[in-house]
Symmetry: C2
Subunit: 387 residues, 2 copies
């Protein structure tokens, strides 16, 4: 959405936090603001990296939930499609024109399976993950019923401790079932090591990924011995993509947070011991917030609380400021320690959220800003698509 007419009838401060053309200073808060220059640089940089390392990049759409951002990732980053975690989310991307959509999760509910099986009719290649032999028959029946094809990856739990099988034998058994099932196509392996992405130390992350790579390589070899080739061996996040790229066994990255960055990811260290938000990636996503009370001399109260962000990975930081600190959060209030009383009512601050994914999921809009002006407004297209 970039055209002024798309916003006709929308009221600033009720329907939308801003409109294109407005000064940045007039944006209604709290809301999500994207620094478009930083965003474009992040996307281009990861795209160039993947290309240089012979990797496909299937960007993780569950982070931003935005068709517009996914299309920017295609255009500037050469991404081959998206992955996401829910069927309803996948439908948003497929309806929005993304042609290759992986639900990097299990789809087991009968209504969800039916929706997944219909999705290729929207013009997209559709994939999902499987970790249970009993799931295969249900997926197959739905694809046959709708005359479509669902491609499936066997999910390996390589350390995340969630979904996924743990032995090569299980991988081979499920892959054979998929290969034999009408309406399905065995397409490879999903192996995302989610638990290590946020470990501070590069060496600690590498040690975890080495284990995962060995596990995945063993499965790929065993599958090959059975005549089953992996079109996709997918995984990798913002804290690990260089390990998967160097593994010789993964061929698809699934990075999400690199595009926006957040405070929790920002703290992890690269191989030289430098924070990744100090050179590797730029903060492109902010929660813009306004001081609404300063009745106590050393404390400013801002309008971004729990309903403007998720605290699961800690409090937000205040971008570009070390004189004030966001110290406490309740439903609609944030307490900012202001020991020198430098803030005034109606001053604005840019918060870097603790965790970008669930923070984006509580907002309806991204306000895209460049050179002090609102350039665009993008809906968080799949916000709330949790089913």
């Amino acid at each position: 959405m970039n055209v002024q007419s798309d916003f006709e009838g929308l009221e600033v401060g009720f329907d939308v936090p801003a409109l294109p053309g407005m000064d940045e200073t007039d944006i209604q808060t709290p809301c999500l603001v994207l620094d478009l220059d930083a965003l474009e640089r992040n996307i281009t940089k990861m795209g160039d990296y993947a290309k240089a390392h012979g990797m496909r990049h299937r960007v993780h759409g569950k982070m931003h939930k935005s068709v517009d951002v996914a299309k920017l990732q295609e255009k500037l980053g050469g991404s081959v499609g998206v992955c996401c975690q829910k069927v309803s989310e996948a439908e948003v991307f497929a309806r929005g024109g993304i042609k290759d959509v992986l639900v990097s999760n299990q789809v087991t509910d009968p209504i969800k399976i039916d929706r997944l099986a219909r999705m290729p009719k929207l013009g997209a290649r559709v994939l999902c993950c499987v970790d249970d032999p009993e799931n295969v028959a249900a997926l197959s029946a739905a694809a046959v019923k709708h005359g479509t094809q669902i491609e499936a990856l066997v999910e390996i739990d390589c350390g995340a401790g969630r979904c996924g099988v743990t032995t090569t034998q299980q991988v081979v058994d499920i892959a054979k079932l998929l290969d034999a099932a009408e309406g399905l196509k065995f397409a490879g392996i999903q192996a995302y090591q989610g638990a290590m992405q946020h470990m501070d130390s590069y060496e600690d992350r590498k040690a975890k990924l080495d284990v995962a790579v060995a596990q995945v390589a063993d499965a790929v070899t065993a599958l090959k011995a059975q005549g089953l080739e992996c079109d996709i061996v997918g995984g990798g996040g913002t804290g690990s993509y260089y390990f998967e790229s160097a593994s010789g066994v993964y061929n698809e990255l699934q990075c999400g947070s690199y595009a926006f960055m957040d405070a929790d990811y920002g703290r992890i260290l690269d191989k030289d011991g430098k924070r990744i938000d100090q050179g590797e990636w730029e903060n492109a996503l902010f929660i813009l917030t306004t001081v609404m009370s300063h009745a106590k001399a050393d404390k400013a109260i801002v309008d971004a609380g729990l309903k403007a962000q998720s605290l699961d990975s800690g409090l937000p930081t205040i971008y570009g400021r070390d004189d004030v600190e966001y110290v406490k959060c309740s439903d609609e209030h944030g307490v900012v320690a202001d020991p020198d009383g430098v803030l005034k009512v109606n001053d604005k601050l840019k918060l870097v959220p603790g965790h970008c994914d669930p923070t984006c999921n509580v907002h309806d809009w991204y306000v895209g800003v460049r050179n002090g002006k609102v350039e665009t407004l993008w809906p968080v297209s799949a916000r709330g698509k949790a089913y």
Copy 2:
């Protein structure tokens, strides 16, 4: 929204998690489910309590953000109106037909003040809070511009540590300014002790409220000495309403969570040392979730993660079960310890969220259930109205 035709064209599993008339077992997850019987009993009970104690009840709409629930609170609980925390939220309630709406927060941004001043034209009495003498002129100018009246409460910080003045002299000074300002009406005092609501011990909560009551009584007396009567002395929550009701100085309660309950409030103890979710209030709100993977024998993976709830007040509990436990949460996954392997893929569980307010704020719909059937679907009308 109760009429079948309201839902025409909405797709289950994409637009909505369910439709009226469906069996409870077919609801698409994760989503919010309301036990309508429990909800109605909670609302009736609090209404009866307020009436018996000569208190008005201005229900806190920021908890549920639902016009339908607010209207049920009027009908069954005799509530006099709503309070909420944001101007955009207040607009939703006023547009929805609630006739008395308090923004129990500061309104300082020029665009927000302008919207607030226009709101009485929607047919509602409109109030807000003030803790800053400099705010008065801006509110007054906007009310004069639009030919409306804004009523204002002086906010006292009686322990929450957020907005609000701390001395009686400040209360009197701001009240005089409000009383003198064209377009404004001084309407009383806002004094919500938010910080004590979740303290487990009844006696600890009482000690905190005693301090607040003394502070508020002092201000009311000083105002009276200046000829300024308080129409409203408002505050009180689910952990304290009996203290305000017995105070002799408060006349309006502002309870929210009692209607739905949550795990964090449920743990606090009444005067007999009994958890308040074991008799005082019933759990009426649940996050319905489905097991989507059980690849590990002792662990079920469910589909309600961080994007279906807020973890700020801890993990959810599993309603009515002590054989399984929700032990870990990531963006789209919940890990449920299942030591005896009693769960199967596609089993459903009812989670009691840690904190109801920010959990409701990530969902679009309440699915109202009675006797195993979906009876109604209510939009979370003010979801995302954070401005």
